[in-house]
Point group: C2
DNA sequence: TCCTACGATAGACATTGTCTAAGTCAAGTG
DNA sequence: CACTTGACTTAGACAATGTCTATCGTAGGA
């Protein structure tokens, strides 16, 4: 079931009920929850889990590279467990829906040396913005 | 001097000391200030300007399309007056420095129809992340 | 089973942004 | 130039998100 949980265990993580619940809540494709959404769902399974623990746990998962932090709207950060397949995001400007997408080409290759200003570039984040089909019809 | 101010006046904006100061603070290339940084600089020129006015004014400039809102770090939004030349951003993960860059190619063209899920896509945001030369040496 | 270091907790605090009610003023009108 | 009016500004309360601290609990090895 939870690949995420397996990978974390393999890294010597001390396994607690709280961490298990957070990992379970995050598991799946096209999951992009905010920290508070993760907390809300975790509470239904483990009522006494605290906000701080959710924030800590998510932060550790990000540090370990098992979860990606996405800032699509300048509001709350979202957490994406799909960290091992490179992908970009498509965001609906009206309802905020997010899809994982896989563009062709390599955006890194598109940035010539003269435009790198001596930076050592480690990754590229691409966010496509538009209106989803659902919002387009109910406009 | 302030092209930004000229364009705003041309759109029927009521010109006030506060708006003038905000526009002046934002003027220039490679300017990517947070709202509170804008406020801090505005206060040195117009001590009684309020935070709410700075937020309002920046929001209006964004609505008018004269300034772009950039969320490079999930913290405070940054405001980029260089709205009329399409460009992307290069961000230092250590010190937070931001440069405007102009990649070759069109990222929109890289997203095949099968990956658009019926969305009507209006724009693409690309953020290159890395370490700037300054931080690389003082590591 | 016992220990202990690592993890969890509640809640204060910090940062960023939004809203409201009341006062002020830019700019058109006469 | 003085008047008027509605748009603009203000202070400060409030809201949303995230961080920190001191204390308590417990996973997992000895």
């Amino acid at each position: 079931m939870s690949d995420l949980l397996e990978r974390l265990r393999g890294r010597g993580w001390r396994m607690t009920a709280q961490r298990r619940v957070v990992a379970e809540v995050l598991d799946g494709d096209h999951v992009h929850l905010t920290a508070d959404e993760v907390h809300a769902r975790a509470v239904t399974r483990l009522p006494e889990i605290s906000r701080a623990t959710v924030y800590n746990t998510l932060g550790e998962m990000v540090t370990l590279g098992e979860v990606i932090e996405v800032a699509t709207d300048g509001r709350a950060k979202r957490y994406d467990p799909n960290a091992h397949r490179p992908h970009q995001h498509l965001v609906c400007g009206r309802c905020g829906a997010i899809r994982d997408v896989h563009p062709a080409g390599d955006p890194l290759a598109d940035l010539p040396d003269t435009e790198r200003f001596g930076f050592t570039i480690s990754n590229v984040e691409v966010t496509y913005r538009g209106i989803c089909p659902n919002c387009a019809t109910t406009a």
